[in-house]
C-alpha cells in the first residue's frame, strides 16, 4: 500500500494497520529534515493550510504549524475566541467560509466529539482532526507509536499501561485503537469515575484495573494522562489524594519492565498524575514525544495534502 485511500484524517478507529503504517514508515525521512541546518523542503510549496483551534492548545498547534512550514506550505492559525463564531455564526458556516478561500487542508480542534466528522460531510476540503472532545486525537497516537518504535522494534506483544483520566481522554482512545491494531496488550487504569467499563470493549486484549501497581507490573510502556478538569464539573479536586493513588512515582517503576518508557501527551501536572522525579527521569520520553509530534504531523500533512484534489 502506498496511497492513503481517504480524503480526511478523522480518527484511527476505522483505519487498517496497513494504512497507519503509511505514516509510521516515513518517520526517519521526516525526522531527518528537522535535524538539518536548513529545515525546509518544497514538498508542499504553494499549499495553504488552515489551523483552526476552538480549544486552547500550545504543543499541537505549534507542532502542526512547524510541520507545515518545514514542508514549505503557507499556514494561518485561527483560534476560537477571536473568530466569527463569537459573533453568532454556526460552525458549518465558518468552515464553509474558510473553505471558500480554497485552503488545501483544514486542521481542526474542537471540544465537541465528532465535530470534524460532521464537518467533513459538508466540505470538500480535507480535514485533519487535531483532537475532538473525548473522541480521538489521531496524530497524538501516531507520534506516540513513532516514539515507542524508537525504543522497541515492534508494537506487537508489547504491554502498555494507560493510567489516569481515561474516560475523558481522546489521546487514550486513539492510542487504544492504534496499539490494539498492531497487537499490543493494553491495561487501562484509573479511579472508577474516570474508567468507564465499556472501554474494555473498544478492542481485543484490553483489561481494566483500579490499581496502579497492577497496571505498571511488567509494562513496557507507561502512558500517563492528565486529569481533564475542564471536561468535568468538579469543585475542589482532591489533588493530593489522586497523586497518592494514581500518581506515577519512582517506586512504581521497579514493578515495570526494566527498560520501560514513561510517556505523557502533555501538558504535565507535576505532583498530580506524575512525580517530578519520574517526569525528569532518563527513561521518560515526554520531550521525545514532542519532537516526534512535528515528524508525525509532517507525515500526515504530506500524505493528506499530497493527494491531488
Amino acid at each position: 500500500m502506498t496511497e492513503l485511500d481517504r480524503k480526511d484524517l478523522l480518527g484511527l478507529e476505522g483505519m487498517s494497520a496497513e494504512e497507519i503504517e503509511l505514516f509510521l514508515d516515513t518517520t526517519a525521512s521526516f525526522k531527518e529534515i528537522s535535524e538539518r541546518t536548513v529545515k525546509k523542503v518544497p514538498a508542499l510549496r504553494g499549499k495553504t493550510i488552515v489551523n483552526l483551534f476552538f480549544e486552547p492548545s500550545t504543543r499541537t498547534r505549534a507542532s502542526f504549524e512547524i510541520a507545515a512550514k518545514r514542508l514549505g506550505a503557507d499556514t494561518i492559525s485561527i483560534s476560537g475566541e477571536g473568530s466569527s463564531l463569537s459573533k453568532g455564526e454556526s460552525l458549518v458556516d465558518t468552515l464553509n467560509t474558510l473553505s471558500a478561500m480554497r485552503p488545501d487542508v483544514i486542521v481542526m480542534r474542537h471540544s465537541a466529539s465528532g465535530a470534524p466528522q460532521f464537518l467533513s460531510r459538508f466540505l470538500s476540503t480535507p480535514i485533519i482532526n487535531a483532537g475532538d472532545g473525548q473522541h480521538e486525537h489521531p496524530t497524538q497516537a501516531l507520534l506516540d507509536a513513532m516514539t515507542i518504535l524508537e525504543h522497541r522494534s515492534s508494537l506487537e506483544g508489547l504491554r502498555a499501561a494507560i493510567i489516569g483520566d481515561i474516560g475523558h481522554s481522546r489521546v487514550a482512545r486513539s492510542n487504544i485503537h492504534l496499539l490494539a491494531k498492531f497487537g499490543a496488550e493494553l491495561v487501562l487504569c484509573g479511579p472508577a469515575t474516570m474508567l468507564p467499563r465499556p472501554l474494555a470493549e473498544l478492542a481485543p486484549r484490553i483489561s481494566l484495573t483500579h490499581s496502579i501497581e497492577e497496571a505498571v507490573s511488567g509494562a513496557d510502556v507507561i502512558m500517563m494522562l492528565r486529569v481533564q478538569l475542564e471536561r468535568q464539573n468538579v469543585l475542589n479536586f482532591p489533588k493530593n489524594e489522586y497523586f497518592q493513588f494514581y500518581g506515577l512515582r519512582l517506586e512504581h517503576l521497579r514493578l515495570a519492565h526494566p527498560d520501560a518508557i514513561v510517556m505523557h501527551p502533555g501538558p504535565i501536572n507535576r505532583g498530580r498524575e506524575i512525580s517530578s522525579e519520574v517526569a525528569d527521569f532518563p527513561r521518560s520520553v515526554i520531550l521525545n514525544q514532542v519532537e516526534n509530534g512535528v515528524t508525525a504531523r509532517m507525515a500526515v500533512l504530506e500524505r493528506v495534502c499530497g493527494q491531488s484534489s
Binding site: S29, R36, V41, P42
Partner: protein, 175 residues
C-alpha cells in the same frame, strides 16, 4: 549491457574521476535513490582500490523535491525514504551519481535537495546510462554509456544489491 560490462563501466568512470581530480581529499559521492546509491558505493570502492583514498558516500532521497508529485491524480505517491549525508558538503566537490539520465528532472530536484545541505564548491554528475531526451539544460560530466533511445522505449538498470543481477535493459514500453 551485461554484468561484466557494468563492472568495467564503473571502473572506467572511476578512472576518469581520478584523472580529473588532482586529489580526492575534498571529493564526496552522493547517490540518488534508488539505484544511484549502489553505483555510488561501487565507485567509492573502486576509487579506494585505485588511489587508496576513502571517498565519503551519501544517499539522497529527492521525493520531497520532485516537481511531478501533484501531477498524477491517480498514480501512487512515491515512497519516501531517508536522506543520509553524514558529512558536511560545504566546500567539497560533490559527485552526484544516478543510474539513468533522461529528462533531467531528477537531477534538477537533486541539485535543489543537495544545496539545502550547504554550499559545495562544485557539483558534478556521473551516470551509468545517458538515454537522451533532456527537458532541462543538464549534462553529465561522466557517462558510462550513451544509449540513443526513443521516448516509447524504457531503460532499466538492475544491480545485484537490489535486483537479481547487474544489467542494463532497453525495451519497448507496453501500453
Amino acid at each position: 549491457m551485461a554484468a561484466d560490462q557494468v563492472a568495467r563501466t564503473v571502473t572506467r568512470i572511476a578512472h576518469e574521476i581520478v584523472e580529473r581530480h588532482r586529489t580526492l581529499d575534498d571529493v564526496a559521492l552522493v547517490g540518488i535513490r534508488t539505484r544511484g546509491v549502489p553505483i555510488a558505493r561501487r565507485l567509492s570502492a573502486v576509487l579506494h582500490d585505485i588511489t587508496s583514498a576513502t571517498v565519503p558516500t551519501g544517499v539522497l532521497d529527492i521525493t520531497l523535491y520532485r516537481d511531478d508529485l501533484m501531477r498524477h491524480p491517480v498514480g501512487p505517491q512515491p515512497i519516501l525514504r531517508k536522506t543520509e549525508i553524514e558529512f558536511s558538503i560545504d566546500d567539497r566537490r560533490i559527485l552526484l551519481v544516478d543510474d539513468v539520465l533522461y529528462t533531467g528532472r531528477t537531477i534538477r530536484a537533486a541539485l535543489d535537495a543537495l544545496i539545502d545541505f550547504g554550499r559545495p564548491r562544485q557539483i558534478q554528475l556521473a551516470v551509468l546510462v545517458d538515454r537522451g531526451h533532456r527537458e532541462f539544460p543538464i549534462k553529465a560530466d561522466y557517462v558510462g554509456k550513451n544509449v540513443p533511445t526513443s521516448e516509447s522505449e524504457f531503460v532499466e538498470v538492475h544491480v545485484t544489491e537490489l535486483d537479481e543481477k547487474d544489467e542494463v535493459i532497453l525495451g519497448e514500453k507496453s501500453l
